[in-house]
């Protein structure tokens, strides 16, 4: 087995991982990023919309400040976030956008003079100032008081990731692509690196480092319908759970987007509804106005997703070979509008569906979109439970998003957290030496090799990994989706517990040579089902509704009992449920809990604590 030594090992080469790697390399440390795919193919490349930072250059951003950004972020989180972290984030975001500017991101810039913009299908005028000419401009995104979303045409994530990877190349950061981490090397106290499997040859490689960082992105693919890339499968989260000592935070907080297209779950923008698109049911009738008479289709992301799901449960969904869906109708907006303002939607429909949205309806359904939960870290990005382990980006629960993240805040988080945590790793390594126990390395490697041999030979059983994965996804889709109830979640947890037993008996149907995709799937399935259980069991225990976590049987946000963060541990590998613990949502309050400003909601106040 090959062994590679570095100062810093980063699992993931998306924006968060590469930003941290650049920080480490800039300080003279040796850093390597692992990635399943070439760095530039990481999911960060898929974000089109943009990233938030209070630069206040555009006229519609006038009066914006890091205070306003902070307050939007805390409200958006439904007071579930760590306010110290949200403050750090909002204050650092403008600096990071400017740094990206120096590194080469072709941000769209302020163009002085009059121009038009749309809001709810209506046209308005604005005039940009001459003195701001050429500075980074911003567009509008949901949930913010000011326009503060920095963007690069329709390819923000792409351009920023390419720039970051260029920077890493310049600094000599190595990226080992087609390499998949499958286990952390640790002794219950300290993390020493990871065991990875080459997706070229199938061989195991040990990566040894004084600091290890998890930047492996979201885990949306434990759901069937997700807007996430196919590699966002939670493989590393499973490895983190497997340590037994590092908890995952707020796993029940999962965001759903109303309009993923069916069957491939690609996202179409909310702009469709913003400009006047409507949602139709199986009878091609509108329904959103029945539930939300005022805002109808224009209600917020999570509200629309809820009513869509409700309406399908009432039997009004459209059956298809890929499951039930609803229709998005933009035909009445006309060809000019659709091929102009909504060009991207037009292209997605024609290229991926073979549907012409000028004359045909678009099949859509609420689709898993973002994982607020992840590897629980402190504000320096250090994971709980293991020395030398860090995390940042969507894989982490650094916790500036709480129970709902705002559009444009996660891409900004990747570079802000990547920078901060990268810097903290540099500081950590300044006065840190560790002696590397080779026995731990060989023990971990041997265990992984045994696991591979058993799966290939079918020593534990012959369960088909793809069928087990389907069972897990079905259970989550049914019980831990947009709506959650005691009954649904109890059923979901039970089914997942059975599925976990099956996952432990997976054996290959094919030979397992080389990069074998079936073996890759088999190696992570047990961890995935455990993740699914963290989501479902966490949701079952959280008896309130907050942000994206929506309990029909507990519709109120309950600050009295649940102003907390869930920590899910997998203490013993043979357990069939996670161990849940709780901590305060935030160590201090800059803004006390209040109304989040959208969607009707009852609140049980924290002040009622003394009385009860």
């Amino acid at each position: 087995m090959q062994t590679i030594y570095k100062d810093v090992l980063i699992i993931g080469a998306g924006l968060a991982g590469e930003r941290a790697a650049a920080e480490a390399a800039g300080a003279g440390l040796s850093a390597v990023c692992l990635s399943i795919v070439p760095a530039r193919r990481s999911h960060s490349a898929a974000a089109m919309g943009g990233m938030q930072a209070a630069l206040a250059n555009s006229i519609m951003g006038e009066g914006d400040s890091t205070d306003v950004h902070f307050s939007d972020t805390v409200k958006g989180s439904d007071w579930g976030c760590d306010q110290e972290v949200a403050r750090l984030f909002a204050d650092t975001a403008p600096v990071e956008m400017r740094r990206l500017c120096d590194w080469g991101v072709p941000w769209n810039r302020v163009v002085p003079g009059k121009s038009k913009y749309f809001k709810g299908g209506k046209q308005f005028d604005k005039e940009e100032k001459e003195e701001k000419r050429g500075l980074i401009t911003a567009r509008n995104f949901g949930g913010t008081a000011k326009w503060r979303t920095c963007y690069v045409s329709d390819g923000t994530g792409h351009s920023v990731l390419y720039t970051m990877d260029n920077r890493c190349a310049q600094l000599g950061v190595e990226v080992h692509d087609k390499v998949e981490a499958i286990a952390l090397i640790q002794d219950g106290e300290t993390c020493y690196g990871a065991i990875a499997r080459s997706l070229r040859t199938g061989e195991l490689v040990a990566y040894i480092a004084k600091a290890t960082m998890v930047a492996s992105g979201g885990f949306g693919k434990i759901y069937k319908a997700s807007t996430n890339a196919v590699i966002c499968d939670g493989g590393v989260h499973g490895a983190v759970l497997d340590t037994g000592v590092v908890p995952l935070g707020n796993m029940e907080a999962v965001q759903f987007h109303p309009t993923g297209i069916v069957p491939t779950d690609i996202l179409v923008t909310e702009g469709c509804r913003g400009d006047g698109g409507t949602l139709l049911d199986v009878n091609e009738e509108r329904f959103m106005h029945i539930y939300e008479p005022e805002k109808a289709e224009l209600a917020s992301r999570d509200v629309v997703a809820r009513w869509m799901t409700h309406h399908m449960r009432e039997g009004k969904g459209v059956p298809s070979p890929y499951g039930e869906h609803l229709w998005l109708d933009i035909r009445h907006l006309g060809e000019k509008h659709i091929t102009g303002k909504l060009r991207e939607v037009y292209e997605i429909c024609t290229s991926f569906l073979g549907v012409d949205p000028i004359h045909q309806l678009i099949p859509v359904r609420p689709t898993q979109h973002y994982s607020m939960g992840g590897v629980r870290t402190n504000k320096d990005g250090a994971a709980y439970g293991l020395k030398g382990l860090f995390s940042a980006g969507e894989s982490a629960c650094w916790d500036m998003h709480g129970f709902n993240r705002l559009g444009g805040n996660s891409l900004a988080e990747t570079v802000v957290a990547g920078g901060i945590v990268g810097h903290k790793i540099v500081e950590f390594l300044e006065n840190y030496e560790c002696s590397i126990p080779t026995a731990v390395i060989s023990r971990t490697a041997a265990k992984q090799q045994q696991r591979i041999d058993d799966i290939i030979s079918g020593a534990n059983g012959k369960e088909n990994v793809y069928r087990v994965r389907e069972a897990m996804q079905d259970a989550l889709d049914k019980g831990a989706h947009v709506f959650r109830t005691e009954e649904g979640l109890t059923k979901c947890v039970e089914t997942l517990q059975e599925t976990l037993q099956r996952a432990r008996k997976v054996g290959l149907q094919t030979d397992g040579y080389g990069a074998s995709p079936e073996l890759s799937a088999a190696l992570k399935i047990e961890g995935q089902v455990k993740l699914a259980l963290c989501v479902a069991y966490g949701a079952l225990q959280r008896k309130e509704s907050r942000g994206s976590h929506n309990r029909e049987d507990y519709p109120a946000r309950n600050d009295r009992d649940w102003l907390t963060r869930t920590l899910a541990y997998w203490k013993n590998p043979d357990d069939d449920l996670p161990t849940l613990e709780y901590e305060d949502a935030t160590p201090s309050y800059e803004i006390p809990p209040g109304d989040r400003g959208y969607g009707k909601m009852q609140i049980i106040s924290a002040d009622s604590k003394e009385e009860s």
Partner: protein, 245 residues
Amino acid sequence: MARQLKFNIFRFNPQNPESIPHMESYILEETDSMTLFIALNRIREEQDGSLQFDFCCRAGICGSCAMVINGRPGLACHTKTKDLPLEITLTPLPVFKLVGDLSVDTGTWFRSMYNKVESWIHTDKVFDANAIEDPMENDIAEDVYELDRCIECGCCVAACGTARLRDDFMGAAALNRLGRFVVDPRDKRTDKQYFDVIGSDEGIFGCMGLLACEDVCPKNLPLMNQLSYLRRKMGIVAIKQMFKK
């Protein structure tokens, strides 16, 4: 009645000593809005778990899924079966090293490409966290983005006659990449410095100008304009250098 599709897929696993390159056929019933992404995943999950191919975003953004589809390089996620005949032949991209079946190693190729063209901003400016950004005209920013849109899928390289003949040819993607820095005012390299990178048969002078690259580029990048622009510009540098000697 749904169509019965026949997929002829190239199979070879270099890690398996018994594997020999061959074509294998799979039958699949077509469903609504079926793309090659859906079809290939169904084949893998229902018929042969060892089939290797690469998808990531499955939305035409990341460039992972390029392969040769009925003789032409293209993105598999972006290809609907209803636009194809009943018989669909899939082979891996040429030029790149084969990993197995339809999967090739584009990562190594592109990384060496961008190290060769030094695909980063060359400047003496040191970032100042307290200063505001240098202004730039929006039109220029958009011009840079226009060339920054390449997704490194490798289709242009696979379609290029020169690239198939000589390993060291940089290909349209590299020339386009350099062009991105030529138009970026933040990059302080001179024409002479650019010439040293691409002013040879490995670069701009190796290109035969037949434009297979532009035909297959899924991002519709203006490769033709880019190539002729660089050729003119580099031609001028070459002439200047001849006179200097």
